[in-house]
């Protein structure tokens, strides 16, 4: 069982490694976008999927990461990849400040407030806040990332960068999910009064989920800025948040494979059916309604966490 699973993982990794060889630049770029959205959605999944907080302003954190990278790179010429953790920290810090007063709000109110937050951030960027965001035109001339002297510029080069980061993300978030921390988020999603009553510091975990999600989104912001070399406020509008929200909900809220599948469906599929691309959002809107009615948990809902079989533990205990 276990070996079969690892075999599947190895197979998927193998396919991904050789995939760019068989695809043209356009399709590799599509996969790059899928990858970026998937990582972003995985970071949103910490907040929305695990902790169950209806956060629809994730583009704000992503924007802050991208702008941090863009500003520091264009003014101080700090290498882009060095800026990844820093952008994450800035986004995480922003989340820490803005999330604190709003995390106790009820689900639908939180949703509205986070929409307000992402709009305020976008308006601030357009208005060239602090005179450093470049207004509506944004910032251009962001350097390409360098990896041990190797400059990443081609789509297939970005492909390896993005999907490698994705692999790291999956690995770490999987561990996070199956830990005391991950369980605490699940508890407060299921019933926060019962969670608090069982000794879980719910306020702390809600905030921590926001900070971790924002930190990761900030890092993806760096990748995005480096890939595009030009960023503008319109790339981080409210609809980006909606797309991320849909990826998580359609794929399977709280499930890592589900979220990745969601990214392929929402971002990748319309590229395959070009004529369908204009109607994409309409169809997804209808799909969201249908999903809530017929399959609330998404296409690939989360599997229950695995623990050592009970019998095994009992046997162990008998030994000592």
């Amino acid at each position: 069982m276990k070996t079969r699973r690892s075999l599947i993982y190895v197979l998927i990794c193998g396919i991904l490694v050789v995939l760019p060889v068989f695809l043209n630049a356009y399709w590799v770029d599509v996969l790059n976008n899928v990858g970026l959205y998937a990582i972003l959605a995985l970071s949103l999944n910490v907040i929305l999927g695990y902790a169950g907080m209806f956060h629809m302003g994730h583009a704000a954190f992503y924007a802050i990461g991208a702008y941090t990278t863009a500003i520091l790179n264009t003014t101080y010429h700090i290498p882009v990849l060095w800026l990844m953790p820093l952008s994450g920290l800035v986004a995480g810090f922003f989340a820490l400040i803005v999330a604190r007063p709003i995390i106790h709000l009820r689900g639908d109110y939180l949703l509205i407030v986070t929409i307000g937050m992402v709009e305020i951030v976008r308006i601030a960027l357009i208005n060239n806040v602090f005179g450093i965001t470049g207004g509506a035109n944004g910032i251009f001339g962001i350097a390409r990332p360098e990896f041990f002297g190797f400059r990443i510029r081609q789509p297939h080069e970005f492909f390896y960068l993005i999907w490698a980061f994705m692999a790291v993300t999956i690995y770490l978030f999987h561990r996070l999910e199956n830990s005391r921390f991950g369980r605490a988020l699940t508890y407060l999603r299921e019933d926060d009064v019962a969670a608090e009553g069982s000794g879980v510091n719910t306020a702390h975990y809600k905030l921590a989920a926001f900070v971790i999600g924002a930190f990761w989104a900030g890092m993806v912001g760096t990748l995005y800025a480096a890939k595009m070399t030009i960023i503008a406020p319109e790339s981080f509008n409210f609809w980006e948040s909606v797309v991320l929200f849909m990826i998580v909900l359609l794929g399977g809220s709280g499930s890592i494979p589900g979220v990745i599948l969601g990214a392929f469906l929402v971002v990748g599929l319309p590229e395959i059916f070009r004529e369908f691309a204009t109607a994409r959002m309409m169809i997804f809107g209808a799909a969201m309604v249908a999903m809530m009615i017929f399959r609330t948990e998404g296409i690939l809902p989360p599997q229950p966490r695995k623990y050592p079989p009970v019998g095994e533990l009992l046997a162990d205990e008998a030994k000592p």
């Binding site: 699940t186 299921e190 009970v310």
Partner: protein, 254 residues
């Protein structure tokens, strides 16, 4: 000194005194029952002890320490665990994971330790798992560890809540109508369970409507009506107390 002390506690909801100047003590190692007619304010008293509500007046001390300003999760960490009148399990999670929630407050590993999967984190996880399983077996649900909480019977859900509360390693456990919805055999087993909880050194405070259970298991009973304490004593005395009989069966005069 007493384990838990309520001192002139008052709580008002929109002009209505739900709890009115109630004082009582719970002694270490005892089983205390809190009874009274519907709407007398029993669950409100529980919610005040566990920090879900703040009293308007008065003080609540646990092991000499005032708890009225503490958030619920810290009160749990101090050693007061509870179950809920309307069962509040994590319905979609397994019985085991429900109990692991109780272990949470005695663990330390955070997000970074989990991502790095540090050795101490792995040891802690394993210990918690053993403890949770132990509690499940203690309440008699060892075989149902993998079952989803929602699929358990009503009685077993009540037991699972008790296991979750016990996993916080409390010194005081507060049970809100543990026998609600249980059949006779389950209730009989519950009596034994409550006694064995006490024998572990955990003090028990319970609200219960099943009077035969209360009379059988409690050593001390506090009776409330309209938010006020009307009687206190051992079961025999309570049963003979005319005010209690009146509160339960209604007035005699016509």
């Amino acid at each position: 000194m007493s384990l838990l002390q309520l001192d002139k506690v008052t709580k008002t909801f929109g002009g209505l005194k739900a709890v009115d100047n109630v004082s009582c003590t719970v002694e270490r190692g005892s089983i205390v029952g809190l009874i009274g007619p519907n709407g007398a304010g029993k669950t409100t008293i529980f919610n005040l002890i566990t920090g879900n509500y703040r009293p308007d007046q008065g003080d609540i001390r646990f092991e000499e320490r005032s708890v009225i300003k503490l958030p619920t999760h810290l009160i749990v960490a101090l050693g007061i665990a509870r179950t809920f009148q309307t069962i509040r399990l994590f319905q979609k999670l397994s019985a085991l994971e429900n109990v692991l929630a109780g272990c949470h407050c005695r663990m330390h590993a955070g997000a970074l330790a989990a991502m790095a999967r540090l050795p101490f984190q792995r040891r802690e996880e394993r210990k918690a798992l053993e403890l949770a399983l132990g509690e499940l077996r203690f309440v008699g649900l060892g075989q149902q560890a993998d079952q989803m909480a929602a699929n358990l019977s009503y009685g077993n859900q009540r037991l699972l809540e008790i296991a979750r509360a016990l996993a916080t390693q409390p010194r005081l456990i507060i049970l809100d109508e543990p026998a609600g919805g249980m059949n006779d055999q389950e209730t009989a087993a519950l009596v034994e369970l409550i006694r064995s909880i006490r024998d572990r050194g955990v003090t028990v405070l319970l609200i219960e409507h099943d009077m035969s259970l209360v009379m059988k298991v409690c050593e001390q009973i506090v009776v409330v009506e309209y938010g006020s304490k009307i009687a206190e004593g051992d079961p025999a005395a309570i049963k003979q107390n005319p005010r209690v009989i009146e509160a339960y069966l209604g007035t005699d005069e016509e």
